[in-house]
Protein backbone atom coordinates (compact mmCIF):
# COMPACT_ATOMS: atom_id res chain seq x y z
CA UNK A 1 0.00 0.00 0.00
CA UNK A 2 1.08 3.52 -0.68
CA UNK A 3 -0.53 5.62 2.01
CA UNK A 4 2.57 7.76 2.38
CA UNK A 5 2.24 8.78 -1.23
CA UNK A 6 -1.22 10.19 -0.71
CA UNK A 7 -1.70 13.70 -1.90
CA UNK A 8 -4.54 16.03 -1.13
CA UNK A 9 -7.43 15.63 -3.53
CA UNK A 10 -9.14 18.86 -2.80
CA UNK A 11 -8.08 22.08 -1.14
CA UNK A 12 -9.45 22.94 2.25
CA UNK A 13 -10.01 19.96 4.47
CA UNK A 14 -7.43 17.84 2.71
CA UNK A 15 -4.74 20.43 3.29
CA UNK A 16 -5.95 20.86 6.83
CA UNK A 17 -5.79 17.09 7.17
CA UNK A 18 -2.29 17.14 5.72
CA UNK A 19 -1.37 19.72 8.32
CA UNK A 20 -2.76 17.56 11.08
CA UNK A 21 -1.00 14.56 9.57
CA UNK A 22 2.26 13.76 11.25
CA UNK A 23 2.67 10.40 12.93
CA UNK A 24 -1.00 9.92 13.85
CA UNK A 25 -2.12 11.05 10.40
CA UNK A 26 -0.13 8.32 8.70
CA UNK A 27 -1.58 5.70 11.02
CA UNK A 28 -5.07 6.98 10.41
CA UNK A 29 -4.73 6.62 6.66
CA UNK A 30 -3.26 3.16 7.04
CA UNK A 31 -6.27 2.22 9.12
CA UNK A 32 -8.55 3.40 6.33
CA UNK A 33 -7.10 1.12 3.68
CA UNK A 34 -4.80 -1.59 5.00
CA UNK A 35 -7.28 -3.83 6.89
CA UNK A 36 -9.78 -3.82 4.01
CA UNK A 37 -7.27 -4.52 1.26
CA UNK A 38 -5.44 -7.02 3.42
CA UNK A 39 -8.62 -8.99 3.96
CA UNK A 40 -9.74 -8.71 0.34
CA UNK A 41 -6.36 -9.90 -0.93
CA UNK A 42 -6.51 -12.83 1.45
CA UNK A 43 -10.08 -13.67 0.42
CA UNK A 44 -9.89 -13.05 -3.33
CA UNK A 45 -6.41 -13.12 -4.81
CA UNK A 46 -4.94 -15.89 -2.67
CA UNK A 47 -7.83 -18.33 -3.38
CA UNK A 48 -7.79 -17.51 -7.10
CA UNK A 49 -4.05 -18.20 -7.40
CA UNK A 50 -4.44 -21.31 -5.26
CA UNK A 51 -7.25 -22.49 -7.52
CA UNK A 52 -5.13 -21.87 -10.63
CA UNK A 53 -2.46 -24.05 -9.05
CA UNK A 54 -4.92 -26.83 -8.17
CA UNK A 55 -6.23 -26.86 -11.73
CA UNK A 56 -2.81 -28.11 -12.85
CA UNK A 57 -3.03 -31.20 -10.65
CA UNK A 58 -5.04 -34.36 -10.82
CA UNK A 59 -6.26 -34.06 -7.27
CA UNK A 60 -9.05 -35.94 -5.59
CA UNK A 61 -9.64 -35.21 -1.92
CA UNK A 62 -8.00 -37.92 0.14
CA UNK A 63 -5.43 -38.90 -2.46
CA UNK A 64 -2.04 -37.48 -3.39
CA UNK A 65 -2.11 -34.65 -5.96
CA UNK A 66 -0.45 -35.62 -9.25
CA UNK A 67 0.98 -32.95 -11.54
CA UNK A 68 -0.77 -33.08 -14.90
CA UNK A 69 0.04 -29.63 -16.29
CA UNK A 70 -2.74 -28.62 -18.66
CA UNK A 71 -4.19 -32.15 -18.53
CA UNK A 72 -7.39 -31.07 -16.76
CA UNK A 73 -7.96 -28.37 -19.35
CA UNK A 74 -7.35 -30.82 -22.21
CA UNK A 75 -9.74 -33.34 -20.65
CA UNK A 76 -12.27 -30.62 -20.13
CA UNK A 77 -12.14 -29.42 -23.74
CA UNK A 78 -12.65 -32.96 -25.03
CA UNK A 79 -15.49 -33.66 -22.59
CA UNK A 80 -18.93 -33.35 -24.27
CA UNK A 81 -20.44 -32.55 -20.84
CA UNK A 82 -18.31 -29.41 -20.68
CA UNK A 83 -19.45 -28.24 -24.11
CA UNK A 84 -23.06 -29.00 -23.25
CA UNK A 85 -22.74 -26.99 -20.03
CA UNK A 86 -21.14 -24.11 -21.93
CA UNK A 87 -23.91 -24.18 -24.53
CA UNK A 88 -26.62 -24.32 -21.86
CA UNK A 89 -25.05 -21.43 -19.92
CA UNK A 90 -24.85 -19.27 -23.04
CA UNK A 91 -28.39 -20.20 -24.07
CA UNK A 92 -29.73 -19.24 -20.64
CA UNK A 93 -27.84 -15.96 -20.72
CA UNK A 94 -28.95 -14.90 -24.19
CA UNK A 95 -32.57 -16.00 -23.76
CA UNK A 96 -33.09 -14.71 -20.22
CA UNK A 97 -31.26 -11.40 -20.59
CA UNK A 98 -32.87 -10.43 -23.90
CA UNK A 99 -36.38 -11.19 -22.61
CA UNK A 100 -35.63 -9.34 -19.37
CA UNK A 101 -34.43 -6.24 -21.21
CA UNK A 102 -37.45 -6.09 -23.54
CA UNK A 103 -39.99 -6.74 -20.78
CA UNK A 104 -38.02 -4.52 -18.40
CA UNK A 105 -38.38 -1.54 -20.75
CA UNK A 106 -42.10 -2.19 -21.31
CA UNK A 107 -42.81 -2.61 -17.60
CA UNK A 108 -40.68 0.46 -16.87
CA UNK A 109 -43.02 2.61 -18.95
CA UNK A 110 -46.07 0.95 -17.37
CA UNK A 111 -44.70 1.64 -13.88
CA UNK A 112 -43.78 5.22 -14.78
CA UNK A 113 -47.39 6.43 -14.51
CA UNK A 114 -48.61 8.31 -11.51
CA UNK A 115 -51.74 7.28 -9.65
CA UNK A 116 -52.68 6.34 -6.09
CA UNK A 117 -51.46 2.87 -5.23
CA UNK A 118 -48.51 3.01 -7.61
CA UNK A 119 -46.15 2.91 -4.61
CA UNK A 120 -47.56 -0.45 -3.57
CA UNK A 121 -47.57 -1.78 -7.14
CA UNK A 122 -43.91 -0.87 -7.53
CA UNK A 123 -43.05 -2.51 -4.23
CA UNK A 124 -44.75 -5.73 -5.39
CA UNK A 125 -42.94 -5.65 -8.71
CA UNK A 126 -39.54 -5.06 -7.09
CA UNK A 127 -40.00 -7.80 -4.51
CA UNK A 128 -38.93 -10.87 -6.55
CA UNK A 129 -35.33 -9.70 -7.09
CA UNK A 130 -34.84 -9.32 -3.34
CA UNK A 131 -35.77 -12.93 -2.57
CA UNK A 132 -33.33 -15.82 -2.36
CA UNK A 133 -32.99 -17.35 -5.86
CA UNK A 134 -33.06 -20.75 -4.19
CA UNK A 135 -36.42 -20.11 -2.52
CA UNK A 136 -37.82 -18.68 -5.75
CA UNK A 137 -36.68 -21.80 -7.62
CA UNK A 138 -38.23 -23.94 -4.91
CA UNK A 139 -41.73 -22.57 -5.19
CA UNK A 140 -41.60 -22.47 -8.97
CA UNK A 141 -40.70 -26.15 -8.85
CA UNK A 142 -43.90 -26.64 -6.85
CA UNK A 143 -45.87 -24.67 -9.45
CA UNK A 144 -44.28 -26.49 -12.41
CA UNK A 145 -45.19 -29.93 -11.08
CA UNK A 146 -46.55 -32.37 -13.67
CA UNK A 147 -49.58 -33.54 -11.73
CA UNK A 148 -50.65 -30.91 -9.20
CA UNK A 149 -48.78 -27.85 -10.53
CA UNK A 150 -50.75 -24.64 -10.97
CA UNK A 151 -48.96 -23.64 -14.19
CA UNK A 152 -50.18 -26.62 -16.22
CA UNK A 153 -53.63 -26.28 -14.63
CA UNK A 154 -53.90 -22.65 -15.79
CA UNK A 155 -52.58 -23.58 -19.26
CA UNK A 156 -55.20 -26.29 -19.71
CA UNK A 157 -57.90 -23.92 -18.40
CA UNK A 158 -57.25 -21.55 -21.29
CA UNK A 159 -57.22 -24.40 -23.78
CA UNK A 160 -53.49 -24.97 -24.14
CA UNK A 161 -51.87 -28.38 -23.75
CA UNK A 162 -50.14 -29.24 -20.47
CA UNK A 163 -46.36 -28.93 -20.75
CA UNK A 164 -43.88 -31.47 -19.32
CA UNK A 165 -41.90 -28.77 -17.46
CA UNK A 166 -38.73 -29.98 -15.73
CA UNK A 167 -38.96 -33.39 -17.43
CA UNK A 168 -38.47 -32.61 -21.10
CA UNK A 169 -34.96 -31.33 -22.03
CA UNK A 170 -36.36 -28.39 -23.98
CA UNK A 171 -39.12 -27.35 -21.59
CA UNK A 172 -36.84 -27.72 -18.57
CA UNK A 173 -34.58 -25.10 -20.10
CA UNK A 174 -37.59 -22.90 -20.83
CA UNK A 175 -38.63 -23.30 -17.18
CA UNK A 176 -35.24 -22.09 -15.94
CA UNK A 177 -35.50 -19.05 -18.23
CA UNK A 178 -39.08 -18.36 -17.09
CA UNK A 179 -38.00 -18.35 -13.45
CA UNK A 180 -35.02 -16.09 -14.17
CA UNK A 181 -37.24 -13.71 -16.15
CA UNK A 182 -39.81 -13.63 -13.35
CA UNK A 183 -37.18 -12.86 -10.73
CA UNK A 184 -34.94 -10.45 -12.64
CA UNK A 185 -37.11 -8.47 -15.06
CA UNK A 186 -37.91 -6.27 -12.03
CA UNK A 187 -34.23 -5.35 -11.84
CA UNK A 188 -34.24 -4.05 -15.44
CA UNK A 189 -37.54 -2.28 -14.75
CA UNK A 190 -36.01 -0.65 -11.67
CA UNK A 191 -33.08 0.77 -13.65
CA UNK A 192 -35.33 1.82 -16.55
CA UNK A 193 -37.58 3.67 -14.09
CA UNK A 194 -34.56 5.41 -12.61
CA UNK A 195 -33.55 6.45 -16.13
CA UNK A 196 -37.04 7.67 -16.98
CA UNK A 197 -36.95 9.76 -13.83
CA UNK A 198 -34.08 11.80 -15.30
CA UNK A 199 -35.90 12.76 -18.53
CA UNK A 200 -36.57 16.51 -18.37
CA UNK A 201 -40.31 17.20 -18.36
CA UNK A 202 -40.05 20.23 -20.65
CA UNK A 203 -38.65 17.99 -23.39
CA UNK A 204 -41.66 15.70 -23.08
CA UNK A 205 -44.10 18.60 -23.09
CA UNK A 206 -42.48 20.02 -26.22
CA UNK A 207 -42.73 16.64 -27.93
CA UNK A 208 -46.41 16.36 -27.00
CA UNK A 209 -47.10 19.83 -28.39
CA UNK A 210 -45.28 18.87 -31.59
CA UNK A 211 -47.45 15.74 -31.81
CA UNK A 212 -44.38 13.54 -32.10
CA UNK A 213 -45.13 9.86 -32.72
CA UNK A 214 -44.55 7.41 -29.88
CA UNK A 215 -41.60 5.86 -31.67
CA UNK A 216 -40.05 9.31 -32.27
CA UNK A 217 -40.53 10.15 -28.60
CA UNK A 218 -38.89 6.93 -27.53
CA UNK A 219 -35.96 7.22 -29.92
CA UNK A 220 -35.30 10.95 -29.57
CA UNK A 221 -36.27 11.76 -26.00
CA UNK A 222 -36.28 8.65 -23.81
CA UNK A 223 -33.47 6.63 -25.39
CA UNK A 224 -30.55 8.94 -24.50
CA UNK A 225 -31.62 8.68 -20.85
CA UNK A 226 -32.18 4.93 -21.01
CA UNK A 227 -28.91 3.94 -22.67
CA UNK A 228 -26.77 4.03 -19.56
CA UNK A 229 -29.21 2.25 -17.20
CA UNK A 230 -29.86 -0.40 -19.83
CA UNK A 231 -26.18 -1.09 -20.42
CA UNK A 232 -25.73 -1.32 -16.68
CA UNK A 233 -28.64 -3.75 -16.44
CA UNK A 234 -27.17 -5.74 -19.33
CA UNK A 235 -23.81 -5.92 -17.56
CA UNK A 236 -25.19 -7.11 -14.23
CA UNK A 237 -27.70 -9.53 -15.73
CA UNK A 238 -25.24 -11.12 -18.19
CA UNK A 239 -22.68 -11.71 -15.47
CA UNK A 240 -25.22 -13.12 -13.07
CA UNK A 241 -26.73 -15.50 -15.62
CA UNK A 242 -23.27 -16.65 -16.75
CA UNK A 243 -22.61 -17.79 -13.20
CA UNK A 244 -26.16 -19.06 -12.67
CA UNK A 245 -26.39 -21.90 -10.16
CA UNK A 246 -29.22 -21.71 -7.63
CA UNK A 247 -32.40 -21.90 -9.69
CA UNK A 248 -31.47 -24.74 -12.10
CA UNK A 249 -29.93 -26.58 -9.14
CA UNK A 250 -33.21 -26.55 -7.23
CA UNK A 251 -35.58 -26.75 -10.22
CA UNK A 252 -34.06 -29.71 -12.01
CA UNK A 253 -30.75 -30.52 -10.33
CA UNK A 254 -29.17 -29.94 -13.75
CA UNK A 255 -31.28 -32.60 -15.46
CA UNK A 256 -32.91 -34.06 -17.43
CA UNK A 257 -29.78 -35.52 -18.97
CA UNK A 258 -27.67 -32.48 -17.92
CA UNK A 259 -29.69 -30.26 -20.24
CA UNK A 260 -30.03 -27.57 -17.57
CA UNK A 261 -26.58 -28.06 -16.11
CA UNK A 262 -24.72 -24.73 -16.21
CA UNK A 263 -20.94 -24.39 -15.92
CA UNK A 264 -21.31 -23.56 -12.22
CA UNK A 265 -23.36 -26.71 -11.66
CA UNK A 266 -20.82 -28.81 -13.57
CA UNK A 267 -17.98 -27.41 -11.47
CA UNK A 268 -19.92 -28.01 -8.26
CA UNK A 269 -20.54 -31.62 -9.29
CA UNK A 270 -16.87 -32.32 -9.96
CA UNK A 271 -16.04 -30.80 -6.60
CA UNK A 272 -18.67 -32.16 -4.26
CA UNK A 273 -19.87 -35.34 -5.92
CA UNK A 274 -16.80 -36.67 -7.74
CA UNK A 275 -14.25 -35.03 -5.38
CA UNK A 276 -12.32 -34.17 -8.53
CA UNK A 277 -10.97 -30.87 -7.22
CA UNK A 278 -8.46 -30.24 -10.01
CA UNK A 279 -11.16 -30.47 -12.67
CA UNK A 280 -13.56 -28.31 -10.64
CA UNK A 281 -10.86 -25.63 -10.40
CA UNK A 282 -10.24 -25.79 -14.16
CA UNK A 283 -13.97 -25.36 -14.91
CA UNK A 284 -14.27 -22.47 -12.48
CA UNK A 285 -11.39 -20.72 -14.23
CA UNK A 286 -13.25 -20.99 -17.53
CA UNK A 287 -16.22 -19.23 -15.90
CA UNK A 288 -13.91 -16.50 -14.59
CA UNK A 289 -12.42 -15.96 -18.05
CA UNK A 290 -15.78 -15.90 -19.86
CA UNK A 291 -17.15 -13.39 -17.35
CA UNK A 292 -14.03 -11.26 -17.72
CA UNK A 293 -14.39 -11.12 -21.49
CA UNK A 294 -18.08 -10.23 -21.32
CA UNK A 295 -17.45 -7.62 -18.62
CA UNK A 296 -14.72 -5.96 -20.63
CA UNK A 297 -16.85 -5.77 -23.76
CA UNK A 298 -19.81 -4.29 -21.87
CA UNK A 299 -17.69 -1.85 -19.88
CA UNK A 300 -16.19 -0.57 -23.16
CA UNK A 301 -19.74 0.03 -24.38
CA UNK A 302 -20.74 1.74 -21.15
CA UNK A 303 -17.80 4.09 -20.79
CA UNK A 304 -18.77 6.62 -23.51
CA UNK A 305 -22.43 6.47 -22.44
CA UNK A 306 -21.74 7.47 -18.89
CA UNK A 307 -19.69 10.58 -19.56
CA UNK A 308 -21.24 13.36 -17.56
CA UNK A 309 -23.51 10.97 -15.69
CA UNK A 310 -21.24 9.14 -13.32
CA UNK A 311 -17.87 10.57 -12.46
CA UNK A 312 -16.07 7.50 -11.15
CA UNK A 313 -14.16 5.41 -13.63
CA UNK A 314 -15.49 1.93 -14.17
Amino acid sequence: MTQEAMVSKRDGPATAMEAAAGFRGVWWRRLLFVPTFGLLLLLAIVPLIFSLGISLFNYSIGSKPIWVGLGNYLNMFTDPQFWLATRVTVQFTIAAVSIEVVLGILFGFVMNQRFTGMGIIRLIVFLPMMLAPLVVGLFWRFMFDQTFGIVDYLLTQIGLPAIPWLIDPFWARVAVVVVDVWQWTPFVTLLVLAGLGTVPTDLLEAATLDRASNWMKFRQIYWPYLRFPLLLALLFRSIDTLKMFDSPFILTGGGPGNYTSTLSILGYRHQIMFFNVGMAAAISWVVVIIINIVTNILVKLITPAKVGQVHTGL
Binding site: P13, P35, A44, R122, L131, L134, M143, T147
Partner: protein, 270 residues
Protein backbone atom coordinates in the same frame (compact mmCIF):
# COMPACT_ATOMS: atom_id res chain seq x y z
CA UNK B 1 -59.97 9.14 -25.23
CA UNK B 2 -57.63 10.49 -22.60
CA UNK B 3 -59.58 8.76 -19.83
CA UNK B 4 -59.57 5.51 -21.79
CA UNK B 5 -55.79 5.70 -22.09
CA UNK B 6 -55.50 6.39 -18.38
CA UNK B 7 -57.70 3.42 -17.46
CA UNK B 8 -55.76 1.18 -19.82
CA UNK B 9 -52.52 2.27 -18.13
CA UNK B 10 -53.88 1.44 -14.68
CA UNK B 11 -55.16 -1.95 -15.87
CA UNK B 12 -51.77 -2.75 -17.41
CA UNK B 13 -49.97 -1.79 -14.20
CA UNK B 14 -52.30 -3.99 -12.16
CA UNK B 15 -51.77 -6.86 -14.61
CA UNK B 16 -47.98 -6.59 -14.32
CA UNK B 17 -48.20 -6.47 -10.53
CA UNK B 18 -50.49 -9.53 -10.53
CA UNK B 19 -47.95 -11.51 -12.56
CA UNK B 20 -45.26 -10.88 -9.99
CA UNK B 21 -47.56 -11.27 -7.01
CA UNK B 22 -49.30 -14.50 -8.01
CA UNK B 23 -46.44 -16.98 -7.36
CA UNK B 24 -45.86 -15.37 -3.96
CA UNK B 25 -49.55 -15.60 -3.08
CA UNK B 26 -49.62 -19.20 -4.26
CA UNK B 27 -46.81 -20.23 -1.93
CA UNK B 28 -48.44 -18.37 0.99
CA UNK B 29 -51.68 -20.18 0.20
CA UNK B 30 -49.87 -23.51 -0.06
CA UNK B 31 -48.35 -23.01 3.39
CA UNK B 32 -51.83 -23.13 4.93
CA UNK B 33 -52.97 -26.28 3.09
CA UNK B 34 -53.11 -29.87 4.27
CA UNK B 35 -51.14 -32.57 2.44
CA UNK B 36 -54.22 -33.64 0.52
CA UNK B 37 -55.11 -30.11 -0.53
CA UNK B 38 -51.52 -29.46 -1.64
CA UNK B 39 -51.56 -32.35 -4.07
CA UNK B 40 -55.18 -31.91 -5.15
CA UNK B 41 -55.98 -32.02 -8.86
CA UNK B 42 -57.34 -29.55 -9.89
CA UNK B 43 -55.62 -27.16 -7.41
CA UNK B 44 -57.87 -25.81 -4.67
CA UNK B 45 -58.20 -22.09 -4.06
CA UNK B 46 -60.67 -22.12 -1.19
CA UNK B 47 -60.08 -24.35 1.81
CA UNK B 48 -60.00 -24.46 5.60
CA UNK B 49 -56.55 -23.05 6.50
CA UNK B 50 -54.34 -25.04 8.87
CA UNK B 51 -51.28 -23.98 10.85
CA UNK B 52 -49.91 -27.52 10.89
CA UNK B 53 -47.16 -26.76 8.33
CA UNK B 54 -45.87 -23.89 10.46
CA UNK B 55 -45.89 -26.09 13.56
CA UNK B 56 -43.96 -28.74 11.61
CA UNK B 57 -41.48 -26.14 10.40
CA UNK B 58 -40.84 -24.98 13.97
CA UNK B 59 -40.29 -28.57 15.04
CA UNK B 60 -37.82 -29.31 12.23
CA UNK B 61 -34.20 -28.23 11.75
CA UNK B 62 -35.47 -25.03 10.20
CA UNK B 63 -35.21 -22.75 13.30
CA UNK B 64 -31.61 -23.87 13.78
CA UNK B 65 -30.84 -23.15 10.14
CA UNK B 66 -32.39 -19.69 10.42
CA UNK B 67 -30.30 -19.08 13.53
CA UNK B 68 -27.17 -20.05 11.57
CA UNK B 69 -28.20 -17.80 8.69
CA UNK B 70 -28.72 -14.86 11.06
CA UNK B 71 -25.43 -15.36 12.94
CA UNK B 72 -23.49 -15.53 9.69
CA UNK B 73 -25.30 -12.68 7.95
CA UNK B 74 -25.15 -10.28 10.91
CA UNK B 75 -21.48 -10.96 11.72
CA UNK B 76 -20.41 -10.58 8.12
CA UNK B 77 -22.46 -7.38 7.78
CA UNK B 78 -20.95 -5.80 10.90
CA UNK B 79 -17.38 -6.52 9.76
CA UNK B 80 -18.15 -5.31 6.25
CA UNK B 81 -19.75 -2.07 7.40
CA UNK B 82 -16.82 -1.23 9.70
CA UNK B 83 -14.11 -1.95 7.13
CA UNK B 84 -16.23 -0.71 4.22
CA UNK B 85 -17.00 2.65 5.80
CA UNK B 86 -13.32 3.26 6.61
CA UNK B 87 -12.19 2.52 3.06
CA UNK B 88 -15.13 4.25 1.39
CA UNK B 89 -14.37 7.35 3.45
CA UNK B 90 -10.72 7.08 2.46
CA UNK B 91 -11.56 6.90 -1.24
CA UNK B 92 -14.00 9.76 -0.88
CA UNK B 93 -11.71 12.15 1.01
CA UNK B 94 -8.12 11.31 0.15
CA UNK B 95 -6.41 10.95 -3.18
CA UNK B 96 -4.22 7.91 -3.02
CA UNK B 97 -1.93 6.56 -5.68
CA UNK B 98 -3.75 4.13 -7.93
CA UNK B 99 -7.12 5.08 -6.44
CA UNK B 100 -8.99 4.41 -9.70
CA UNK B 101 -7.30 1.07 -10.15
CA UNK B 102 -8.06 -0.01 -6.59
CA UNK B 103 -11.69 1.06 -6.90
CA UNK B 104 -12.05 -0.81 -10.16
CA UNK B 105 -10.49 -3.86 -8.60
CA UNK B 106 -13.02 -3.75 -5.78
CA UNK B 107 -15.82 -3.42 -8.30
CA UNK B 108 -14.50 -6.41 -10.23
CA UNK B 109 -15.02 -8.55 -7.15
CA UNK B 110 -18.74 -8.13 -7.82
CA UNK B 111 -18.14 -10.03 -11.08
CA UNK B 112 -16.20 -12.84 -9.42
CA UNK B 113 -18.24 -16.05 -9.72
CA UNK B 114 -18.72 -17.85 -6.42
CA UNK B 115 -17.77 -21.16 -8.05
CA UNK B 116 -14.24 -19.80 -8.59
CA UNK B 117 -13.61 -19.47 -4.87
CA UNK B 118 -15.52 -22.56 -3.79
CA UNK B 119 -12.70 -24.98 -4.61
CA UNK B 120 -9.83 -23.19 -2.84
CA UNK B 121 -11.96 -22.20 0.15
CA UNK B 122 -13.17 -25.76 0.53
CA UNK B 123 -9.60 -27.08 0.64
CA UNK B 124 -8.27 -24.35 2.94
CA UNK B 125 -11.15 -24.58 5.40
CA UNK B 126 -10.88 -28.36 5.35
CA UNK B 127 -7.20 -28.07 6.24
CA UNK B 128 -7.94 -25.59 9.04
CA UNK B 129 -10.84 -27.69 10.32
CA UNK B 130 -13.23 -24.82 9.61
CA UNK B 131 -15.60 -26.64 7.26
CA UNK B 132 -19.18 -26.49 8.50
CA UNK B 133 -18.49 -23.59 10.88
CA UNK B 134 -19.97 -20.10 11.05
CA UNK B 135 -16.52 -18.52 10.76
CA UNK B 136 -15.94 -19.97 7.29
CA UNK B 137 -19.07 -18.46 5.80
CA UNK B 138 -18.70 -15.17 7.71
CA UNK B 139 -15.24 -14.71 6.18
CA UNK B 140 -16.27 -15.70 2.67
CA UNK B 141 -19.32 -13.43 2.70
CA UNK B 142 -17.05 -10.55 3.74
CA UNK B 143 -15.42 -10.84 0.33
CA UNK B 144 -18.67 -9.87 -1.39
CA UNK B 145 -20.07 -7.61 1.32
CA UNK B 146 -16.97 -5.45 1.80
CA UNK B 147 -16.60 -4.75 -1.89
CA UNK B 148 -20.29 -3.87 -2.05
CA UNK B 149 -20.09 -1.68 1.06
CA UNK B 150 -17.05 0.27 -0.20
CA UNK B 151 -18.77 1.18 -3.46
CA UNK B 152 -22.16 2.08 -2.09
CA UNK B 153 -20.85 3.92 0.97
CA UNK B 154 -18.42 5.96 -1.13
CA UNK B 155 -21.47 7.35 -2.93
CA UNK B 156 -23.04 8.34 0.38
CA UNK B 157 -19.85 9.95 1.72
CA UNK B 158 -19.41 11.89 -1.54
CA UNK B 159 -22.77 13.52 -0.89
CA UNK B 160 -21.77 14.95 2.50
CA UNK B 161 -20.82 18.62 2.12
CA UNK B 162 -17.14 19.16 2.87
CA UNK B 163 -17.85 22.44 4.67
CA UNK B 164 -19.11 20.58 7.73
CA UNK B 165 -15.89 18.63 8.03
CA UNK B 166 -13.82 21.76 7.42
CA UNK B 167 -15.63 23.50 10.26
CA UNK B 168 -14.94 20.54 12.55
CA UNK B 169 -11.25 20.66 11.59
CA UNK B 170 -11.10 24.31 12.52
CA UNK B 171 -12.65 23.43 15.88
CA UNK B 172 -9.63 21.25 16.48
CA UNK B 173 -11.01 17.80 15.59
CA UNK B 174 -8.40 15.32 14.43
CA UNK B 175 -9.11 13.40 11.18
CA UNK B 176 -10.31 10.28 13.04
CA UNK B 177 -12.58 12.47 15.16
CA UNK B 178 -13.98 14.14 12.05
CA UNK B 179 -14.75 10.71 10.64
CA UNK B 180 -16.36 9.37 13.80
CA UNK B 181 -18.22 12.47 14.99
CA UNK B 182 -19.10 14.24 11.74
CA UNK B 183 -18.98 11.98 8.69
CA UNK B 184 -20.39 8.77 10.17
CA UNK B 185 -23.42 10.38 11.86
CA UNK B 186 -24.20 12.25 8.63
CA UNK B 187 -23.98 9.03 6.63
CA UNK B 188 -26.13 6.99 8.99
CA UNK B 189 -29.02 6.44 6.60
CA UNK B 190 -26.51 5.30 3.99
CA UNK B 191 -24.90 2.98 6.52
CA UNK B 192 -28.30 1.52 7.40
CA UNK B 193 -29.20 1.02 3.74
CA UNK B 194 -25.88 -0.65 2.98
CA UNK B 195 -26.21 -2.89 6.02
CA UNK B 196 -29.67 -4.03 4.96
CA UNK B 197 -28.41 -4.96 1.49
CA UNK B 198 -25.45 -6.85 2.97
CA UNK B 199 -27.85 -8.74 5.22
CA UNK B 200 -30.15 -9.65 2.35
CA UNK B 201 -27.27 -10.82 0.14
CA UNK B 202 -25.82 -12.94 2.92
CA UNK B 203 -29.16 -14.48 3.84
CA UNK B 204 -29.89 -15.34 0.20
CA UNK B 205 -26.51 -16.81 -0.78
CA UNK B 206 -26.57 -20.50 -1.63
CA UNK B 207 -23.64 -21.94 -3.63
CA UNK B 208 -20.94 -21.15 -1.05
CA UNK B 209 -23.22 -22.13 1.81
CA UNK B 210 -24.08 -25.50 0.31
CA UNK B 211 -20.41 -26.21 -0.48
CA UNK B 212 -18.88 -25.15 2.82
CA UNK B 213 -21.46 -26.42 5.32
CA UNK B 214 -22.83 -29.90 5.87
CA UNK B 215 -25.00 -29.91 8.99
CA UNK B 216 -23.95 -27.88 12.00
CA UNK B 217 -23.61 -24.51 10.29
CA UNK B 218 -26.16 -25.19 7.55
CA UNK B 219 -28.03 -22.02 6.53
CA UNK B 220 -31.75 -21.81 5.76
CA UNK B 221 -31.43 -21.92 1.93
CA UNK B 222 -29.24 -25.03 2.25
CA UNK B 223 -31.82 -26.66 4.49
CA UNK B 224 -34.60 -25.78 2.05
CA UNK B 225 -32.61 -27.21 -0.85
CA UNK B 226 -32.68 -30.68 0.68
CA UNK B 227 -36.24 -31.17 -0.46
CA UNK B 228 -36.08 -34.85 -1.26
CA UNK B 229 -36.70 -36.93 1.82
CA UNK B 230 -37.52 -40.59 2.26
CA UNK B 231 -41.17 -39.55 2.47
CA UNK B 232 -41.03 -37.61 -0.81
CA UNK B 233 -41.24 -33.82 -0.86
CA UNK B 234 -43.08 -32.23 2.07
CA UNK B 235 -44.39 -29.22 0.16
CA UNK B 236 -46.42 -27.97 3.12
CA UNK B 237 -43.41 -27.67 5.39
CA UNK B 238 -41.29 -26.22 2.58
CA UNK B 239 -43.91 -23.58 1.77
CA UNK B 240 -44.28 -22.60 5.41
CA UNK B 241 -40.50 -22.39 5.85
CA UNK B 242 -40.15 -20.39 2.61
CA UNK B 243 -42.79 -17.93 3.77
CA UNK B 244 -41.10 -17.53 7.16
CA UNK B 245 -37.74 -17.02 5.46
CA UNK B 246 -39.11 -14.48 2.96
CA UNK B 247 -40.94 -12.43 5.60
CA UNK B 248 -37.87 -10.56 6.95
CA UNK B 249 -36.65 -9.98 3.38
CA UNK B 250 -40.00 -8.37 2.50
CA UNK B 251 -39.72 -6.12 5.57
CA UNK B 252 -36.14 -5.21 4.66
CA UNK B 253 -37.25 -4.39 1.11
CA UNK B 254 -39.92 -2.03 2.45
CA UNK B 255 -37.27 -0.32 4.60
CA UNK B 256 -34.84 0.28 1.73
CA UNK B 257 -37.45 0.78 -1.02
CA UNK B 258 -36.20 4.29 -1.84
CA UNK B 259 -32.61 3.17 -2.23
CA UNK B 260 -33.23 0.04 -4.29
CA UNK B 261 -31.56 1.49 -7.38
CA UNK B 262 -28.33 2.22 -5.58
CA UNK B 263 -28.28 -1.01 -3.68
CA UNK B 264 -29.01 -3.22 -6.65
CA UNK B 265 -26.69 -1.47 -9.10
CA UNK B 266 -23.68 -1.43 -6.78
CA UNK B 267 -24.05 2.32 -6.42
CA UNK B 268 -23.41 2.89 -10.12
CA UNK B 269 -26.75 4.62 -10.55
CA UNK B 270 -28.43 7.05 -8.22
Amino acid sequence: MKILKRVLGVVLALFVAAMFLFPLLWVVLASFKTKLELLAVPPVFIFQPTLQNYINAFNSDFPMQVRNSLIIAISSTVISIILGSLTAYGFSRYAIKGSDFLQFWILSLRMLPAIAVVVPFYLVFRMLGLLDTHIALILVYCLFNISFAVWVLKGFFDEIPLELEEAAMLDGYSPPQVFLRVALPLARSGLATTAVFCLIQSLNEFLLAVSLTTRVAETAPVGLSKVQTLMGVDWGLLSAASVLFMLPIVIFTIIVRNELVRGMSFGRMK
